[in-house]
């Protein structure tokens, strides 16, 4: 090959590199290893973690352990899906394009919205993008955030806002009091952002808030961090939401320590050209046959560069495929049935934990996660329960370390994967730890 190129050595091809920056010796890093050795080393690291499935485990707060059918992981590993690129050449990527079109339809159906994009990084970044989109739609730059918004979503939105010059008005988190967000909307407000069920697990009807926002020319953004809830509760679209930003991990995707997950993003038809992210659209080919293409790319950075709706170039393709497959397997009966089991498990768990002396469930309503007040700091209780082989939930203080009034609160989630025996173990050990 060197002869064909006409150079004496491969190094000669690097002649444009400044001598001072050229490194002739390998770096101070280990040499290559065989599969066997790499596998051994990584398995050793994996063994230093406690898999949620190996013990009774009740963590939620934006990431949920659901059962993923074996079919899902089987299909997403097919090389034709996994090792393909963004479908820029539609003639040879109709597979990717069709499933993304199916994904968009599923997301629109479950959220009750008109249209959805082909996925975002995750729920938090989707929320930040929703605020930016509301700014573009309304040509305003002040967003009101509910105190019930997941703290990571709020922080992500605040970070983006800070650098984009957007004003954020955020209500305080409170597990019991109802907040009056309508009062915070003024005529500079682009949107009000709420979560349902909220961070503390409460389920709310935001129809009145939607009306209040619309009256002031602002949009309502509804965030969903546990998408399975939409099998059981009124979807945002029916409450007047203009944008839905959600986390889709629960369907088809493992916890994986928080990533990669899959952001869902849906809106009304009329705002579609302000929507960020990839979009697949239906069209016909030269023979008149139905087919799919990436579309409305004039919104995107590779066409509009600094004028694009966002800088996002990637979606969460393979996670979206996992979502699509799992959702297809579930179908109407399965998705609503899954929601029903989740709620029943959580309700049963709440009942068992409420009977532990000193424990109060604060929620007037919940789906599969609720907030408990404990007689001592929740973080200490959780740590103590690790010693008893229970992953008890998420102390609110993990996400709000700076709010002492929340330090005794524990978020507890149950899904279809928790057995009644797990719940009994949790209740018994909690009682022991609180004694």
């Amino acid at each position: 090959m060197l002869v064909a190129i006409g150079v004496p050595s491969v190094d000669a091809l690097f002649r444009d590199v400044p001598k001072a920056a050229w490194r002739d010796e390998p770096f101070d890093l280990p040499p290559h290893q065989g599969e066997l050795e790499v596998e051994r080393a990584l398995a050793r690291l994996a063994a230093q973690n406690v898999p949620a499935g190996s013990v009774p485990s009740f963590l939620g707060a934006g990431a949920y352990r659901h059962h993923v059918p074996a079919t899902v992981d089987h299909i997403i590993q097919r090389g034709e899906f996994m090792t393909s690129y963004t479908p820029y050449q539609p003639e040879v990527t109709q597979g990717t394009l069709q499933y993304l079109f199916e994904f968009q339809t599923q997301v629109a159906l479950i959220t009750g919205m008109d249209v959805a994009n082909a996925s975002m990084y995750d729920g938090a970044s989707a929320t930040a993008e929703a605020v930016m989109m509301a700014n573009r739609v309304t040509r305003r730059s002040r967003a009101v955030l509910s105190g019930g918004l997941h703290p990571h979503y709020r922080e992500t939105t605040e970070t983006n806002a800070r650098f984009a010059g957007v004003t954020i008005v955020a209500a305080d988190p409170h597990p019991e009091a109802d907040e009056d967000l309508a009062a915070l909307i003024d005529d500079k407000t682009s949107c009000v952002v709420v979560q349902n069920p909220d961070f503390f697990g409460r389920i709310r009807d935001y129809s009145a808030l939607a009306a209040a926002a619309h009256a002031k020319g602002a949009l309502l953004v509804v965030v969903v961090s546990e998408i399975v809830s939409l099998g059981a509760i009124t979807p945002p679209g029916e409450m007047g939401a203009d944008i839905v930003a959600a986390e889709g991990q629960s369907i088809g995707n493992p916890l994986t320590f928080g990533g990669p997950h899959v952001g869902l993003f849906a809106t009304r038809d009329k705002y579609v050209r302000q929507m960020p992210g990839r979009l697949v659209g239906q069209t016909v080919d030269a023979d008149g046959r139905r087919g799919w293409v990436l579309t409305l790319s004039t919104r995107e950075q590779h066409i509009r560069r600094e004028k694009a709706t966002s800088n996002i170039c990637t979606n969460s393709g393979l996670c979206a495929l996992a979502f699509t497959i799992h959702m297809s397997l579930l179908g109407e009966i399965g998705f609503t049935g899954l929601a029903e089991i989740n709620h029943a498990h959580a309700s049963l768990l709440a009942e068992k934990l409420e009977s532990v002396p000193g424990v109060t469930v604060l929620n007037d309503s919940f789906f599969n996660e609720f907030t408990m007040a404990l007689p001592k700091p929740a973080a200490d209780v959780v740590e103590a329960l690790v010693g008893h082989g229970v992953l008890a939930g998420v102390p609110v203080s993990r996400l709000y370390p700076d709010r002492p009034e929340l330090k005794n609160l524990l978020l507890v989630a149950a899904t279809e994967t928790n057995t009644e025996a797990d719940m009994d173990t949790f209740a018994a050990k909690l009682q022991e730890v609180l004694r």
Partner: protein
Amino acid sequence: IEEPLLFERDSEGRCGVDLPAPPKAKNRLGTNARKGRIGLPGISEPEIVRHFTRLSQKNYAIDTGLYPLGSCTMKHNPRLNEKMARLAGFADIHPLQPVSTVQGALAVIDQLAHWLKVLTGMPAVAMSPAAGAHGELCGMMAIRAAHQAKGETRNKVLVAESAHGTNPATAAACGFTVEAVPANARGRVDLAALKAQLGPDVAAVMLTNPNTCGLFETEIREISDAVHAAGAYFYCDGANFNAIVGRVRPADLGVDVMHINLHKTFSTPHGGGGPGAGPVVLAAALAPFAPLPWVVHGKNGFEVLEKAEGAATQALGRLKGFHGQMGMFVRALAYMMSHGADGLRQVASDAVLNANYVLAGLKDDLTAPFEGPCMHEALFDDRFLKDTGVTTLDVAKALIDEGFHPMTMYFPLVVHGALLIEPTETESKATLDRFIGVLKALAAEAREGKVDKFRAAPTLTPRRRLDETSAARQPVLRWKPEEPARTAAE
């Protein structure tokens, strides 16, 4: 065979999963229970396996052939990495578990960070960005935060003309105004022009190196010196890091901040458009502004800093939920451990060798706008198609009928009708020879005036050319049930 949409299938009341009966428990949903149907079809598991298997067969992929998309780096994705990412100790851990129960996960993040820091020569790395563009956002935010901390207001960012579209988009998303830096006749940044554009209002310069023409910026040190002298930071787009990994440390080129696409240089799969991961390496001046969370060494092992306090007081905030793309970290680390310091050098050498082999093989039949050697990708323009009536797009589509995925087309914008070819190091000489042969033959056919053939291509694919204009004009972005009225009429 045509594959209907999921929503168009025979589906009465089926379900592809078998769920246990819910236990008896009080309904505590409150007053907002869902009413009415969602409209999801119910399909059996066998039908779903078949549906997606058939869809997959309509895709081209690295596993089926050469995927020479310049600047996208479609290389082989080792299956070991997939297996490792699926270990329960990585895939089945919750991001908010007590840190004592996830020490191995934090060690993966720490080890991957170490590899990235050594390979780039940079002292710090932000791990949470979810993709390359997200990493750009992180990097530009860090630059803005650093200037703010110094009390400086610099609102302009200079971006090379040949840059990826994400560069200007990112700068704009951070509230900067964007100004293009022109390229010179050698396909590199015009140093004199750049110097003229630099000033006290410039916050940063964004370049890609090797650049999107596949060329190493020969005056890179002069550029970075000028940028620094002007009080600005040098953002390097790391999309092409695979050309120099193990050979050149960006720190030694004067880079202040660079994102790294783990799915390009470090082989995590592209997955039809994601998920990616875009860690960002940072010079000492920018390191304090790295976004949360930080993984740090503590008394009892690894700790996670999740708030802007203590060592992380200046952290610029949070870019996504939780800790970043753990699943991608495991894959990338497995790749790095498999290749080692020696193997990664070889990656760069082989990638550059393969690209130059393609350049040498095609330079007499296609037209190369700049002189070689190139780095990891070979750029051609459309002068060889002049007066043939055939376009770059036509060549790309004709290539499909020969069994190859097209190269990147019409990018970079600095040359006309660009064809950007990146073979990567994982292709064999035999494959490259076949690819070169096919392109030579197509160039000859274009010269011979076989315009009709080109215009008709592709003909052997599940679909022929698709009408993108009408798709954008009247967007149909989801399936909708047929109107009940119409159904009744039938």
